[in-house]
C-alpha cells in the first residue's frame, strides 16, 4: 500500500517537474507558467475580493444545482421505478432525452434564465438530474421480487416493505447516482460560466486569457481542479459507505 502511494506521489512529482522545465525554458511565458509561479500566485489571487466572490458564486451555483437535481431526480424516479407500467412507458423516453447533446440547448437556458446565476443553476441541474434518475430507477428495479414475496407472506405492512426492503436499494442507487451527478453538474455549471458570464469564474478565465496572464489563469484553474477532485472523493466515500451491503451480498 505504501509502495503504491509513493509511486503515485512520484508520478505527480515527475509531471510537475516536466511542466516546470517546459514552462521555464521551452515555451513562451504568455501561454504557460511554471507550477512554482502558479502555486505562489494562488494566495495572491484569492486575496482579490472579486475573484474570491466569483469562486464563491460558482460554488453556490453548483450547490443549488446539485440540490435541485437530487430532489427533482428522486421525485421523478420514484413514480417511474415503482410501477412496471410507468417504468416501461417512461424509461425509454428518459433515455431518449438523455441522448440529446445538452450543450446545444445552452443558448436557450441563457435566453430563459438570463446571464446571471439562474441560467448556470438550471443548466447544471439539467445535467445532474439524469444520473440521479437513472440510478435510482435502476436501484428500485433491482429489488429482488423474492424479498417482496417473503416480506408479504410474513405479514409485513406496505410501509415496512418500503422502509426495510425498497429504501436500502433506493439509497444505494441514489449514492451511486450522486457521484456521477456531482461531476456532470459541475461540468454543466462550468460550461454555462464559460459560455457567458458577467461575474463568475468564467468571467475571470476569459479576462486572464485575453490579457495573456497565464499565471493567474492556471492558478484559478488549478484551484478549481483540486476542488473538483476533493468533491468527487467525498461523494465516492459516501457511495462506498451506503453501497457496501450490496457488494457484500453478491
Amino acid at each position: 500500500m505504501m509502495k503504491v502511494f509513493s509511486a503515485q506521489v512520484a508520478s505527480i512529482a515527475v509531471l510537475l517537474l516536466i511542466w516546470e522545465v517546459a514552462a521555464r525554458w521551452f515555451i513562451d511565458p504568455q501561454f504557460i507558467s511554471p507550477p512554482s509561479k502558479v502555486f505562489v500566485a494562488i494566495p495572491k489571487l484569492f486575496a482579490d475580493p472579486q475573484v474570491a466572490r466569483a469562486v464563491g458564486t460558482s460554488f453556490i451555483e453548483l450547490a443549488v444545482a446539485f440540490a435541485i437535481a437530487v430532489v427533482l431526480g428522486v421525485a421523478i424516479a420514484l413514480p417511474v421505478g415503482l410501477s412496471t407500467l410507468t417504468f416501461k412507458s417512461a424509461f425509454p423516453v428518459i433515455l431518449l432525452i438523455y441522448a440529446i447533446p445538452q450543450i446545444t440547448i445552452l443558448p436557450l437556458f441563457v435566453l430563459y434564465f438570463g446571464l446571471g446565476p439562474p441560467s448556470k443553476i438550471a443548466f447544471g441541474a439539467s445535467h445532474g438530474i439524469f444520473p440521479i434518475m437513472l440510478n435510482v430507477i435502476a436501484g428500485i428495479r433491482s429489488v429482488r421480487p423474492i424479498y417482496l414475496a417473503c416480506a408479504r407472506s410474513m405479514g409485513a405492512s406496505w410501509l415496512q416493505i418500503v422502509r426495510r426492503i425498497v429504501l436500502p436499494y433506493v439509497l444505494a442507487g441514489l449514492f451511486a447516482g450522486m457521484r456521477l451527478a456531482m461531476s456532470v453538474t459541475l461540468l454543466g455549471v462550468m460550461l454555462a460560466e464559460l459560455y457567458v458570464s458577467t461575474a463568475g469564474i468564467g468571467y475571470f478565465t476569459q479576462r486572464f486569457s485575453n490579457e495573456f496572464d497565464a499565471t493567474n489563469l492556471l492558478a484559478l484553474i488549478t484551484v478549481l481542479a483540486i476542488m473538483a477532485v476533493i468533491l468527487n472523493e467525498t461523494v465516492r466515500r459516501l457511495e462506498a459507505r451506503f453501497g457496501r451491503w450490496r457488494r457484500a451480498q453478491r
Partner: protein, 255 residues
C-alpha cells in the same frame, strides 16, 4: 439495460407516442395562439421552415465537414492513446493499482475549465477543439481498457498458457475477445463525450462549425434558426445512438 423488449410492449408504446404527440401539440398550440413571444419559443412550423432554409444554404456542408473533421482527428487520437495507455497500465498489477485511481481522479475534473488555456495555446481554430475533445474521450477509453483487461477470468489465461499459448496468441485469442465488450462501452461513451465537447468548444470560441452556428444564432436572437440547427444535431445524435444500439443487438446473440 436493454430498451429493445420494452419498446415492443404495445401499451407502453402507445403511452410514449401519446406523450410526444402531446408535447408537439402543446408546442404548436402555445405558439400558434401567440401566448409566447416567438423570440422565446418559435413554433414548430417556423422551425421546420428554418431547417429547410439551412439545408439549402451552402454553408451547411462546410460546417458539417468542419465539425466532423475536427471530431474525427480528436477521436482517433483519443482511441490510440487511450487503448495504448490503458493496455500498458493493465499489464502489471502494480501499475494498475498506481495509475487507475490517478486516472479516475483526473477524470473527475471538468476538463472544460482548461479550455481557455487551450485557446491561448492553440488559438480559436480547430486545434483547441481537438485538444479538448481528445482529452474528454481519452479517459473513458483508458479507464474501460484497464477495467476490461484486468477483469479477464484468470482461469482462461491459465488454461491458454498451460496449452502453450505465447504472449501474442494469448493477447489475440483470449485477452482481446474477453475485454472487448467493456472496451467497446468505453469507446461509445468517449464518442458521445468527444462530440459534445467539440460542439461546446465551438460554441465558446470558434468561427466555423455547427456549434458556432448554434451560438451565433442564439446571440443574434434568431431563435428559430437556432432551433433548426439544434434539431439537426440532435437528429444526428439519435441516428448515431440508434445505429450503435442496432450493432450491439446484432452482436449480442453470438457473444
Amino acid at each position: 439495460m436493454t430498451a429493445q423488449p420494452l419498446v415492443r410492449d404495445s401499451r407502453s408504446r402507445a403511452i410514449q407516442i401519446a406523450f410526444f404527440a402531446a408535447v408537439l401539440a402543446a408546442w404548436y398550440a402555445v405558439t400558434a395562439a401567440h401566448r409566447i413571444s416567438p423570440l422565446f419559443l418559435p413554433g414548430p412550423v417556423q422551425v421546420a421552415q428554418q431547417i429547410g432554409r439551412i439545408a439549402h444554404a451552402p454553408t451547411l456542408a462546410l460546417d458539417i465537414a468542419y465539425t466532423m473533421g475536427t471530431f474525427a482527428i480528436a477521436y482517433t487520437i483519443a482511441v490510440l492513446g487511450g487503448l495504448a495507455a490503458g493496455y500498458i497500465v493493465s499489464t502489471r498489477r502494480f501499475l494498475t493499482r498506481v495509475y487507475e485511481p490517478l486516472l479516475a481522479s483526473l477524470y473527475a475534473i471538468p476538463i472544460v475549465v482548461f479550455f481557455p488555456t487551450f485557446i491561448l495555446f492553440f488559438g480559436t481554430g480547430p486545434n483547441s477543439k481537438i485538444a479538448l475533445g481528445a482529452l474528454y474521450a481519452f479517459f473513458p477509453i483508458a479507464l474501460n481498457t484497464i477495467a476490461g483487461f484486468t477483469q479477464v477470468d484468470s482461469r482462461l489465461v491459465a488454461a491458454a498458457r498451460s496449452m502453450g499459448a505465447n504472449d501474442a496468441l494469448l493477447l489475440r485469442r483470449v485477452l482481446i475477445p474477453a475485454a472487448f465488450p467493456i472496451v467497446a462501452t468505453g469507446m461509445r461513451i468517449a464518442f458521445i463525450a468527444c462530440f459534445a465537447s467539440i460542439l461546446a468548444g465551438e460554441m465558446i470560441a470558434s468561427d466555423h462549425g455547427l456549434g458556432h452556428q448554434i451560438a451565433q444564432a442564439g446571440q443574434m436572437m434568431e431563435i428559430a434558426k437556432m432551433f433548426g440547427y439544434v434539431t439537426l444535431v440532435v437528429l444526428a445524435a439519435f441516428a448515431f445512438n440508434f445505429g450503435v444500439s442496432a450493432l450491439e443487438a446484432r452482436r449480442r446473440p453470438t457473444a
